[in-house]
Amino acid sequence: MSLLSFDDVSLDYSTQGAVLSGIGLSFRRGEFLTVIGRSGSGKTSLLNLAAGFLSPSRGRITLDGAPVTGPGRERAVVFQDDALFPWLTVRENVAFALRLSGRPRAERSDRAEALLAGVGLAGQGAKRIWQLSGGQRQRVGIARALAADPAFLLMDEPLGALDAMTRDRMQELLLRVWSDSGAGVLLITHSVEEALFLATRVLVLAPDPGRIVIDRAVDYGQRFLDGETSRALRAEPGFIALREELVDAIHAGEEANHA
């Protein structure tokens, strides 16, 4: 049982002042956390702290009680701009973590093909990155992260650049990946509906300084996996009411700032 904890964490940038302030968060393996909030509310900073790309200015981040001092493969990251390696084939991209840890070539190749099949890209391993569509690239990015067998999968708006149709299918893929891998997923999105549909827990961040204003348990993603349809779930009065509440929370204080 892995646990990633934020204990009263703050982050200051010398240029902007406080980016995040007083973040307290317990994130367990198996949870699907979605993070929404206006731009400037520190969503990406929160992910970068969890990934170990940034260090907190105050407070502590721990993984199973041990302080997080940098990035590590138990916290694999999926990026908005895919951040794939164009000098490698699709298969080699997926197998990157295994190459770093020195696994034999045959094992790397088998595992990569299996992971590619898992994200709907069976048999595409020999292709080059530039031969793939945006949606396919994100699938490769997810498979590459899964190859590290991470306890946590940190995703920074991975569906942000995709068209609506692709996005719907990718959401279902994310739920299946989450359920199959058993990893804890932290996903940043600017779509409230996406956040609500996928999560077991929705976090809303408010800016100036970034802080958690809503931390709400939901179960639509689990119910989708249990057989209910996406359309029916999204049309439920409860879903719609919660969506409106989250939208209000995100935009609260916006007028005051502009005045």
């Binding site: 694999a76 951040a83 794939l84 490698l88 990157f96 190459r99 770093l100 080059r128 590290a148 940190l154």
Partner: protein, 258 residues
């Protein structure tokens, strides 16, 4: 797109034809003395003689091989220094502070300016010649490598780190591959600089080499050999350019797909 390429090719061939025609007319009609400008045919004959009998003690093949060897040795040795230098400039503030001024100091210097100093320090042997050529190649490769290393996106570096890469692995598996297209561009520029410097390097105490052959011929006004030598250098440089393009297409296919 295809039409313009066609057009460029046709214009290129036409230009070449016109130059050859004017050159032929100029020498056969006596517009210019054959001593100063031998006809293309005369140059061709001189070339054949160079291949079979040679000039200034060696055949054309031996001269070309000597020059080629110097340029290649300089390229390999310089790359071994310049690529790490470029990586240090791009990745380490201290490395940048130490190396950037040195590179910027060497970069604009004409080889003829530092040639005497190198001869005073290292003598007139082969190492001096390779060093002169190599110095001219240092800055292009180092600067291109530094620029290339910066082509790796922060996302790519972060991705590798979060998948468990050590700093060394980030360098080997991310920064260097990302830099390869630019390194190759640097090599291309460096080869140009190398051929440019070749004649200067062979000014002193050379017994063989295209630059040496050209200078020996020039002293006795053997203009056809001079021109033949120039054409051979040009052909060799062009061949390298073609080879590098093939290497890029085969081994660095992502260069055109960033």
């Amino acid at each position: 797109m295809r039409d313009t390429r066609h057009m460029t090719l046709l214009t290129g061939i036409a230009t070449l034809a016109i130059v050859l025609t004017v050159w032929t007319l100029a020498s056969t009609r006596g517009w210019v003395s054959p001593v100063f400008l031998p006809s293309p045919l005369q140059v061709l004959k001189a070339g054949q003689l160079l291949i079979s009998q040679g000039y200034a003690g060696s055949t054309l093949g031996a001269h070309a091989a000597a020059s080629l060897g110097r340029v290649m040795a300089a390229l390999v040795l310089t790359a071994l220094v310049a690529v790490p230098v470029g990586v240090l400039i791009a990745t380490s503030p201290v490395g940048r502070g130490v190396l950037d001024p040195i590179i910027e100091f060497v970069r604009p210097l004409p080889p003829l300016a530092y040639l005497p100093l190198i001869i005073i320090w290292f003598g007139i042997g082969e190492p001096s010649k390779i060093l002169v050529i190599g110095l001219a190649m240092l800055a292009p490769i180092a600067i291109s490598t530094a620029a290339g290393v910066r082509q790796a996106s922060l996302g790519q570096i972060h991705a590798a780190r979060s998948l468990g890469a050590t700093r060394g692995q980030v360098l080997w598996f991310v920064l260097l591959p990302a830099a390869l297209p630019q390194i190759l561009t640097g090599v291309r520029i460096a080869l140009g600089a190398g051929w440019t410097t070749l004649v200067a390097a062979e000014l002193v105490a050379a017994a063989r080499g295209l630059g040496y052959m050209i200078q020996s011929a020039a002293q006795f006004l053997v203009t056809d050999v001079v021109i033949a030598g120039i054409l051979v250098i040009s052909a060799l440089a062009f061949a390298f350019e073609v080879i590098l393009r093939i290497v890029e297409r085969l081994f660095i296919p992502w260069a055109s797909h960033r």
